[in-house]
């Protein structure tokens, strides 16, 4: 596609070079900090403060890795598993609920539908910090503060997922398919589970991935809800270790190594599911 338009316009060599330089500089801007993280994770504490970043003489990647999992009685491994549980399970359940709701918004007619949808869209706008105090008070009334559920339940709520679900449903599930299933005498929910959900697969994965990112990044809610370190997700744990680092610098290398490991699952998810989320972005953007 783009080959044709470049041959049509034939920008001058100078313009071409400028464009490539601008893009290359931008890519360096986004990549170098990550590269720094990788290099710094391989340094021991003394090398971190001072020596040349690129020298391999103070290579202690494995040592740092061992330290990370040994620090404070192996808390990091615990946090990592917590994050995985909150994020993978939360995103899976949340995506299923949102997409089911978005599908219903698309395929069924009922009174005040658009008003109700407006409410869903309004929920996208509301800042998390506004909800945090009331949620905390509700959780404390229900005796759920400082439990798994206090973090897990609120993150299931994903109104943007409903919006995407509606768009995907309109794009991927033709109404004729539902009519055909009805003529065959299939139940509505059976049709959804057996036919529509399969067609919605890519959309479901997109919503899942967005929500996975959001939950993995979540920091404010766990900070408000949790005081037991054993329940922390990685984000909150690293925050706490970093605050200790100014007093006891032995935390610096483990915070850096811990950050590096915490980046991996999302990169992995994005690379593996690339095919799906790209189409999801288009659907969300072009509306």
């Amino acid at each position: 596609m783009s080959a044709t338009d470049s041959s049509l316009s034939r920008p001058k060599l100078l313009g071409r070079t400028t464009v490539n330089v601008v893009v290359a500089v931008s890519v360096l801007y986004t990549l170098l900090p990550v590269l720094w993280l990788v290099l710094a994770a391989a340094k021991n504490r003394d090398a971190l403060f001072g020596s040349d970043l690129l020298s391999l003489s103070d290579f202690s990647f494995v040592q740092n890795l061992e330290d990370l999992f040994a620090m404070d009685g192996g808390l990091y491994g615990r946090w990592y598993l917590n994050s995985l549980l909150y994020a993978v399970l939360g995103a899976a359940v949340g995506a299923l609920l949102s997409v089911a709701c978005g599908y219903a918004f698309d395929k069924y007619r009922f009174r005040h539908k658009e008003k109700l949808f407006g409410l869903v869209l309004a929920a996208v706008m509301v800042p998390q910090t506004v909800l945090a105090l009331p949620l905390y008070l509700m959780a404390s009334e229900a005796g759920l503060v400082n439990t798994f559920w206090a973090v897990f339940v609120p993150v299931l709520f994903n109104p943007f997922g409903v919006y995407l679900g509606r768009i995907f449903s309109r794009g991927y599930v033709p109404d004729e398919v539902l009519e055909a299933a009805r003529v065959d005498g299939a139940g509505e929910l059976t049709t959804y589970a057996r036919v529509a959900l399969r067609m919605l697969g890519p959309g479901l994965i997109t919503v899942f991935l967005f929500q996975l990112t959001a939950i993995w990044n979540n920091f404010f809610l766990p900070m408000v809800m949790l005081s037991d370190q054993d329940l922390y997700p990685v984000s909150l744990g690293l925050y706490q270790w970093n605050s200790s680092a100014s007093v006891s610098p032995e935390y610096y290398p483990v915070v850096i190594m811990g950050s590096l490991l915490a980046v991996l699952p999302l990169i992995l998810a994005f690379v593996l599911l690339q095919r799906f989320w790209r189409s999801g972005l288009t659907a969300g953007a072009v509306k």
């Binding site: 219903a104 288009t282 969300g284």
Partner: protein, 329 residues
């Protein structure tokens, strides 16, 4: 939950009034309609149950709390009771210089961050879409990578890159005899803007790029035939065609920017320039969980909420008016 079950009633009656050959057919159609509504309810109920418990009730609670306060009569020896205080908490928030300072900080942050983000992401998307970039897939992946880095870790990485002694950036400047303090009075907001920009630039670039890919090629070819150069095509043909995405990115960026919390919270561990009420969200956190003043925190939350809604609405209105003006031309 209740909301959905109430709303879902007839709507089918209108269709049932359409020509119907027999009462049996009518009855069958009504039964089908009922089955559909039941299915619709089953599919929607779990989400709306969540909406009510983690959204509607909390928002209602925040508004309620902002009008009440826990007063302890008799010098704090009497039993605690909740009393209606009207707008007292709002008055307290809106006259509190630390809260107003936080609003000012976020306003400045938004003014720097949002234009840079939208223009930067759009420019990169247009460049990638122009077809002259080498290794385009690699460039896109590289630009997108920071999106996979959690916000708190992005803040950590940059905090280290801002810290003298650890940072290779500061070393580099030092070699050129430039001393730079990234966390000083005038640099702390730009430093936070940089973190947010780094994290989200690539993501928004991909959104714009996806929208640009959907622009019909004939439109672009027509503009080229009309003699428009690549820059003109990009700015005057492609950009207006992806306006919907630009608005969407601007609104989402705005909503996130107004919640500014994670980055300053982390940087405050190392910078005396950031106090515990640096941004409205930090003010709310401080009021609720450090000072335990729920009325004050709730009032500040409602103010933040109103600002968010008003600004998002303003952006939508502004752009839709621009749309109308565009069409009238």
């Amino acid at each position: 939950m209740t909301a959905t079950t109430q709303q879902r009633v007839p709507a089918g009656t209108a269709r049932a009034a359409a020509p119907s050959p027999s009462t049996a057919g009518l009855r069958a159609r009504r039964a089908a309609r009922r089955r559909q509504l039941t299915a619709c309810g089953v599919l929607m109920t779990p989400f709306f149950a969540l909406l009510v418990t983690v959204f509607l009730i909390p928002v209602g609670t925040a508004v309620y709390l902002s009008f009440y306060s826990d007063d302890q009569p008799g010098l704090g020896f009497g039993p605690e009771r909740t009393v209606f205080v009207g707008l007292r908490s709002y008055a307290a928030v809106l006259t509190d210089p630390t809260f107003l300072g936080g609003l000012g900080t976020v306003a400045l942050y938004c003014l720097i961050y949002i234009p840079l983000m939208v223009a930067g992401a759009l420019a990169l998307a247009l460049l990638l879409d122009s077809g002259v970039v080498r290794l385009r897939a690699f460039a896109q992946l590289g630009l997108f990578l920071p999106h996979a880095v959690p916000g708190i870790i992005a803040a950590l990485i940059w905090l280290y890159l801002y810290t003298p002694g650890i940072s290779p950036v500061i070393d580099l400047f030092a070699r050129a005899d430039i001393t730079i303090d990234f966390l000083g009075v005038h640099t702390v907001i730009p430093s936070i803007v940089n973190i947010a920009l780094w994290s989200n630039l690539g993501y928004n670039m991909v959104v714009f790029y996806a929208a640009l890919q959907a622009v019909p090629r004939e439109v672009i070819e027509a503009s080229v035939v009309d003699g428009a150069g690549p820059v003109r095509t990009a700015l005057q043909v492609k950009t207006p065609l992806v306006r919907a995405s630009i608005v969407m990115v601007a609104i989402f960026t705005l909503i996130w920017a107004l919640q500014l919390f994670t980055e300053p919270m982390l940087l405050s561990q190392s910078s005396p320039m950031i106090n515990s009420r640096f941004s409205p969200s930090m003010y709310i956190y401080d009021a609720a969980f450090t000072r335990n003043n729920y009325g004050l925190a709730a009032a500040a939350s409602v103010v933040l909420l109103v600002c968010t809604i008003a600004l998002s609405y303003g952006v939508t209105r502004f752009t839709s008016r621009a749309d109308v003006a565009e069409e009238a031309r």
